[in-house]
């Protein structure tokens, strides 16, 4: 899409129809489309176009943020429980990678505006490289999740219980000092094996995020296999005292996680394609101080991708 807006620019169409003062400008500038008067005019139109496009992107992701907000408001315990399966390290690393790529993108715009051709090429390549790094990290994370069976919806069937995870253990060790934290992880006195808890489950609604009162360890009746069945082949694990009981429908967290990061990842891929195309045009020497719109629009799109990640990171990885 960024391409389509920006792509308006190199129209090798001669000016026809109207005879006016800008004809000379059109003759000298092969990148000026026939229906614009000046390069600035064309740049401004493209800029408004790309901003409107970004707005559609915001509303597009807005739907997912809405799904997130509604589900988190209804089932905060799911989010607290499930986020231990995400590794903050990878999330933070990717945040850094994307922010750095935003810098190189913004820098590339500056290079194009000032006609610094070599730096421009360097910065575009850097942006593309960083985008690949981001996808690489995402690949590591995704493959880990597939391996661990922390999958969306009814396919959620993790290899490890939450108390076995280092992220949980770290948080738990820290929180030993915090009374509230201990409460947050619901010390259920009768929490023995998962199976016992399931039997003891009452089905009451959990209300506040802190107080996971084990509404039932059985995920989605009829949809997902109960842990006892899921654990066939795996030996039944004995939960340590104080371990949280798995709330219902933890899989939905991963539905939201995969939808949000997946859609974001698709946007990163689209960004890579856009930058590759910008790189090609840069190498042909198409950009300069009077004609850098496409670089600017691509960078704006790229910043928006960064912007969405800035929210995704705390919402998915840093749940408290």
């Amino acid at each position: 899409m960024a391409q389509l807006v920006a792509d308006q620019l190199p129209q090798h169409e001669p000016s026809g129809g109207h005879g006016h003062a800008q004809d000379a400008e059109h003759a000298n500038n092969p990148f000026l489309a026939h229906h614009f008067d000046t390069p600035k005019h064309q740049f401004e139109a493209g800029k408004l176009g790309i901003w409107i496009f970004l707005i559609t992107e915001i509303l597009f992701f807005g739907g997912l943020f809405c799904a997130y907000a509604v589900y988190r408001a209804m089932h905060p315990e799911v989010f607290v429980y499930a986020h231990y399966y995400l590794d903050t390290f990878w999330g933070a690393l990717n945040t850094g990678v994307l922010i750095l790529s935003s810098l190189t993108a913004a820098w590339a715009v500056r290079n194009a505006q000032l006609g610094e051709q070599k730096k421009l090429v360097f910065n575009i390549i850097a942006t593309i490289t960083l985008a690949f790094c981001f996808l690489g990290v995402k690949y590591v994370e995704y493959s880990h999740k597939f391996h661990e069976q922390t999958l969306p919806g009814r396919y959620f069937n993790p290899e490890h219980e939450v108390w076995e995870l280092p992220s949980y253990q770290r948080a738990h060790a820290r929180s030993a000092h915090h009374e509230s934290e201990a409460q947050a992880h619901a010390v259920e006195p009768q929490a023995g094996t998962i199976g016992e808890v399931a039997a003891a489950a009452t089905g009451t609604t959990p209300v506040a995020p802190g107080a996971v009162p084990a509404p039932g360890a059985v995920p989605a009746p009829g949809a997902a296999p109960a842990p006892a069945e899921a654990g066939e082949g795996k030996e039944a694990k004995v939960a340590p005292p104080g371990a949280p009981v798995r709330p219902r429908n933890v899989g939905v967290f991963f539905s939201i996680y995969f939808c949000m990061t997946g859609l974001h990842g698709i946007h990163v891929i689209a960004g890579i394609i856009t930058w590759a195309w910008i790189l090609r045009r840069t190498l042909r020497g198409e950009f300069g101080p009077s004609h850098f719109g496409a670089v600017d629009y691509a960078a704006l799109y790229w910043h928006l991708v960064d912007l969405i990640w800035i929210y995704l990171f705390p919402l998915l990885y840093l749940i408290h």
């Binding site: 308006q8 169409e13 129809g17 176009g49 429908n249």
Partner: protein, 568 residues
């Protein structure tokens, strides 16, 4: 992609290409399929939309035929469910939403604005291709196992039915992007390509309507896209967001869906308001009454339209608080709408009304849209809606608005701009006849449905009580009458195309810029860049010229304006 139209003959001075127009400028099918010209893209949209309209109409006739008798008449109940789903999806996504903005708007917008093209011609072409691909997906389910969910795709049925919902969803998803890109293009065009003198408040009201529509397209359609995407994923892997069995919320889907689809009904009707404003002013030969109010009420409708989606959820288990808020705002939206209707009537008051075909459609619109709009207010009352929800009353209401409002205005606009688009006048007598038949047919079809609804006939039902049969049969007769009327329209419009070009530059004496260029317009729209020194509804300078068989513009010296010459 280089433009095939960028050939050397563009360089020819305009004087030599006087008989040259956008239809004859380039030849061959590729020159159409790869064109960047907004007029050609508009014509391609028009052909596709009319084709889809014929298809959707066929489904409607099959549905009405099935309902002639209780129980089975021609098809089984499963087929019936698929038929009304296809009718709804085709009419909404393929006809009404792109009808006025993408087909008529694409053609008219740059001309009315005095621009050479839309801001992003390639994106414009891409929108058309997206429409085609989306339409193919939507209709492809015909040959497989068409969706039977209704055009609203409500969960949990849409996630559990065995019919092929996914192609239909994917089609609607792609069509959404087509709509978004059209909106994006139009907003940018109106911001950046207004010629000197064309201030915001000198823009024709059709452009204000298109602008408001574009705002809705840009803000609402992405939410539809994500909704459909989530539904597709839900069907594939069972993510559970809309599935109560996984702790999700089926009402959430309805919120998502109507956050788009209620504003979407304004995508359908606001451009229709724009068309009607143009027609009523032109054929009353009088400056439009309350220009700024009509212009700004379009914007007000666009914004308020985002705040009322919950009135579709009154009986879905929405909270009473949300219901009350949505109900209240629903009443508010009647204000800008009524402003328009009253201003149109005030425009006609003491005007010199010419009852040509487009004007008949506009009057037709006023009549039936008022019924549709007012019954909408009734449905916005929570207590009444609980009674009437999902009955034929709702069906009648939205057909009065969508069919009587949007489609009528679309055909009015088609008749209004047909001479400009193709350079030919259609047969006026047949035009008026068909319009009259449509009026009778529409009321005959949908008025009985109001009665059926209040008596408790639920919508989308295959079977019904024998006591409802007379009203159902009346309704079906009306549908056949409309079918015949549309057939007549198709015949005389197509026949007009076989004539040599005979349309004057300005057959109606309208004062918006598209009438100052020849019919059909040249490739670059205007031989001379038009000057804008006055508002769009000043008719004093236009006088009828018998030789031209149309209106010509007096310059201040009293001689006809040379720009309006047809060159014949």
């Amino acid at each position: 992609m280089t433009s095939p139209s960028a050939t050397a003959d563009v360089l020819a001075p305009p004087a030599e290409s006087d008989s040259d127009n956008y239809l004859t400028h380039d030849k061959g099918i590729l020159s159409w399929l790869l064109t960047l010209d907004h007029k050609r893209i508009g014509v391609m949209y028009l052909m596709c939309v009319l084709g889809a309209f014929a298809l959707g109409g066929l489904f409607a006739l099959l549905v009405r035929t099935e309902l002639l008798t209780p129980g089975k008449t021609i098809v089984e109940h499963d087929t019936y469910n698929q038929l009304f789903t296809l009718h709804g999806a085709v009419m909404v996504f393929l006809v009404i939403i792109p009808g006025i903005p993408a087909a008529l708007g694409n053609f008219v917008l740059p001309l009315q604005l005095g621009a050479k093209d839309v801001a992003f011609p390639r994106l414009n072409l891409a929108s058309w291709y997206l429409w085609v691909v989306g339409a193919l997906f939507l209709v492809a389910s015909l040959v497989t196992n068409a969706a039977d969910t209704g055009w609203t795709f409500y969960t949990p049925y849409s996630t559990t039915t065995t019919t092929s919902v996914i192609p239909a969803l994917f089609g609607a998803f792609i069509l959404g992007f087509s709509s978004i890109f059209t909106g994006l293009n139009f907003i940018t065009t109106m911001h950046k390509l207004r010629p000197p003198g064309m201030t915001w408040f000198r823009m024709p009201l059709f452009l204000w309507a298109l602008y408001s529509t574009a705002v809705i397209q840009v803000l609402a359609t992405p939410v539809l896209a994500i909704t459909l995407l989530l539904l597709i994923v839900e069907r594939f892997v069972g993510i559970g967001i809309f599935d109560p069995a996984l702790g999700g919320d089926p009402v959430l889907f309805q919120h998502f869906f109507w956050f788009y689809s209620h504003p979407a009904v304004y995508i359908m009707i606001v451009p229709a308001f724009g068309v009607v404003s143009e027609i009523i002013a032109s054929f009353s030969r009088k400056r439009i009454f309350g220009y700024k109010f009509i212009a700004l009420s379009s914007v007000a409708i666009a914004i308020l339209g985002f705040l009322v989606w919950g009135h579709h959820l009154f009986v879905s288990g929405q909270s009473v608080l949300a219901g009350t808020i949505f109900s209240g705002i629903t009443f508010l939206i009647a204000i800008p709408t009524a402003i328009k209707v009253f201003n149109w009537i005030a425009t006609m008051y003491k005007g010199r009304i010419h009852l040509d075909t487009p004007m008949l459609y506009a009057l037709f619109f006023l009549w039936v849209f008022s019924i549709g709009g007012l019954t909408g207010i009734m449905l916005g009352v929570m207590s009444l809606d609980v009674h009437l929800h999902d009955t034929y009353f709702v069906v009648a209401h939205f057909h009065y608005v969508m069919m009587g409002g949007a489609v009528t205005a679309f055909f009015g606009g088609l008749h209004f701009w047909w001479p400009k688009m193709f350079g030919r006048m259609y047969d006026e007598k047949w035009g008026r006849t068909a319009c009259g038949l449509l009026f009778v047919g529409l009321n005959l079809t949908f008025f009985p449905q109001f009665i059926l609804g209040t008596r408790g006939m639920p919508r989308r039902y295959y079977n019904y009580l024998p006591e409802f049969q007379p009203l159902h049969q009346l309704s079906s007769m009306g549908a056949y009458l409309m079918g015949i009327a549309f057939l007549i329209v198709a015949i005389y419009l197509l026949r007009s195309l076989r004539k040599p070009m005979d349309a004057p530059a300005n057959p109606w004496g309208a004062n918006t810029l598209e009438w100052r260029t020849v019919s059909p317009p040249p490739y670059y729209n205007f031989h001379e860049a038009p000057e804008v020194a006055e508002g769009p509804y000043e008719y004093a300078d236009w006088v009828y010229d018998k030789r031209e068989r149309g209106y010509v513009r007096k310059t201040r010296g009293g001689t006809p304006h040379p720009g309006t010459s047809t060159g014949s």
